[in-house]
Symmetry: C2
Subunit: 371 residues, 2 copies
């Protein structure tokens, strides 16, 4: 069905798709390459919601050369009228002969209809080439389309012996500057950052993206003028946060989950009162559903052991990213997850390692929760 | 001083040296390659203490072809009469024209004298080619020669959140079979295994090398008939261990550090009473010095948080090997190191990551203590 030239062009389309990762949400990041008789005639990628889709840029560049060409797209072309007309129709109108898609769009409004439109118009349309790589470009979007919930990554920073702070709360800095820059990159890739009042109060944390602290590799592919702040979602059910905190003076929207609305904050802060769960704590599944409804694809969590533990217990975590410093903090220091005391090894939460690499002087370990 | 051919032959010599790693201690593992006019004419490696050195095997194979040849040895040829005559003299007698050594022997009885003997005999002798790789083959030997103490590697097995056992002591199995096989390999490479009575009692632990559980890659380079058991060093200052434990019924010598000698054990168990330190605990620096005196090059530690913490506090640890399972055990579970409560981040022990890799379903992380 696919040959090695197909793979080569799709790899290029994926490269293009990745260029949109910092700016396309809540839309997926998509790349498109148009090839005529073995020659690249057009390429493009989706840059931001409301702007043209990847196929539009690529077709525009290809012009007449699109006739009889093959279009490589990292995601099935859309079939519905959203903020832009359906791309499947655009490919038909341009007269392409073949469309290769990396993945089928799980968006219920598409879900194979784009490919069907093409086939109905007599275009050879296949999907599934390099689908794993394509999925990885849009982990959050794909997940939200399938489940209605954001993809949840919990960020952890700990010593070799799994401690996040000394007993007195001191934790600056466990990890080195390279790890902290990598965290900035993850924040920039996320639609929202979730944290708790404890974390905000402990460090007067900003939880924002700071251009100057992004890794250089990001600065070359993400224009400063396009810098976006992820929505900051802060759990403050006991109304302990006050407008004087650094967080509230910085650009970007904040969703503040409180016991009762105070009206103390400026217009960029939305105070939201959600019903509490039976245990008197915030109903986390409800919160995640609300974030899904707000089109949050990827949620990045930076929180203490209590919130991280509660998310794990509620089975709301999809991925852990652990920055591990080559340091020892000892038994008295604080741990990563508050979990109920377990008495048998077969009860403990199981994950799967996905990646391990060095980031400066630290290690970055990534694990996925098993489905 | 060295060219790319030199590097190629030294790489072969290092390959040979590694074949001795399971059997040469307390001697170093050494490989030798003899090359005449670009052709390999002899090679060999040291197989066990008391047996011929690498140079002897290689010269024997080379015969007359050694005349005018270059000898590549991973460690400076010895200059002293030990259990075998000095290899430097053997190389001189054979008429080699040039000797390239990867590393200088830090053994105070050699320490450059082997190279000097060669030079004095008119042979071109250089050292330092691929010295880092050569050092890594004999980490323990090199360390003991320089410091008088064994090189100490502490093995740890923990969950992603740094826990070694549930609060009730349950810990079978945190890590998977591949990690456990890798531990067998490390035990086989060690001269001695250090553990404490707690660990022995908790699991009725054997702490031995079991041929059938070694990784396949080891089984191909280490003959079963040569299988050796490292000395097992068990700290039992409160005389809690009894002869009925599994450990005492298995082949291999045991050094039992006790409060008082009991005479209860068989002849393969040496009860040893060491003076206690001021805190009423075993004087660990004294123990390590004693193990150095007994020619223990590499000490592999499998112990609980108390002994691991005590070794760290006494600055006796050189390396940590952490097998980390993708599991969460929570705050109530047991930690890795008992350390005094610290109050500032600049007081905590600092290490350096050396390696991270996957071993089956787990990660294996290696860190060195900074000097």
């Amino acid at each position: 069905m696919f040959n090695s030239d197909d793979a080569r062009w799709m790899a290029r389309a994926l490269e293009l798709a990745r260029l949109g990762r910092f700016t396309t949400s809540p839309n997926p990041s998509v790349g498109c390459v148009i090839v005529h008789n073995g020659t690249l005639v057009g390429e493009g990628y989706h840059q931001q919601a409301g702007g043209p889709h990847a196929e539009v840029f690529a077709l525009r560049q290809a012009g007449e050369a699109a006739k009889g060409a093959t279009a490589y797209v990292t995601l099935e072309p859309c079939s519905h009228h959203g903020r832009t007309p359906p791309c499947a129709q655009g490919l038909i109108d341009a007269g392409v002969a073949r469309v290769v898609a990396a993945s089928v769009d799980p968006n219920p409004r598409v879900a194979g209809r784009g490919l069907a439109m093409l086939t109905d118009a007599g275009i050879k349309a296949d999907a599934g080439l390099m689908s794993e790589a394509a999925e990885a470009v849009n982990t959050g979007f794909m997940h939200r389309m399938r489940t209605g919930l954001p993809f949840v990554t919990v960020k952890l920073a700990a010593s070799l012996d799994g401690r996040t702070a000394l007993a007195n709360g001191e934790s600056k800095w466990i990890t080195g500057p390279a790890a902290r820059r990598d965290v900035q990159r993850h924040r920039a890739l996320s639609c929202a950052i979730l944290s708790g009042a404890d974390t905000v109060l402990a460090d007067d944390a900003s939880l924002n993206v700071r251009w100057g602290e992004l890794p250089e590799s990001v600065q070359t592919e993400y224009e400063q003028s396009r810098l976006r702040q992820p929505l900051r979602v802060i759990i403050d059910t006991r109304n302990r946060l006050h407008p004087g905190l650094k967080l509230f003076g910085l650009p970007g929207t904040i969703l503040l989950l409180r016991g009762r609305a105070s009206g103390d904050f400026g217009e960029q802060v939305e105070e939201c009162v959600l019903p509490l769960a039976d245990n008197g704590r915030l109903d986390l599944p409800l919160l995640l559903a609300e974030l899904g409804r707000r089109q949050i694809n990827h949620l990045w969590v930076e929180a203490g052991a209590r919130l991280c533990g509660a998310l794990m217990r509620a089975a709301l975590v999809d991925e852990l990213v652990l920055y591990q410093a080559p340091k020892l903090m000892g038994e008295a220091a604080r741990g990563l997850f508050d979990l109920p005391e377990l008495t048998a090894m077969d009860q403990i939460p199981q994950l799967e390692w996905r990646d391990c690499r060095r980031v400066g002087t630290d290690l970055k370990l990534t694990a996925r929760v098993k489905n």
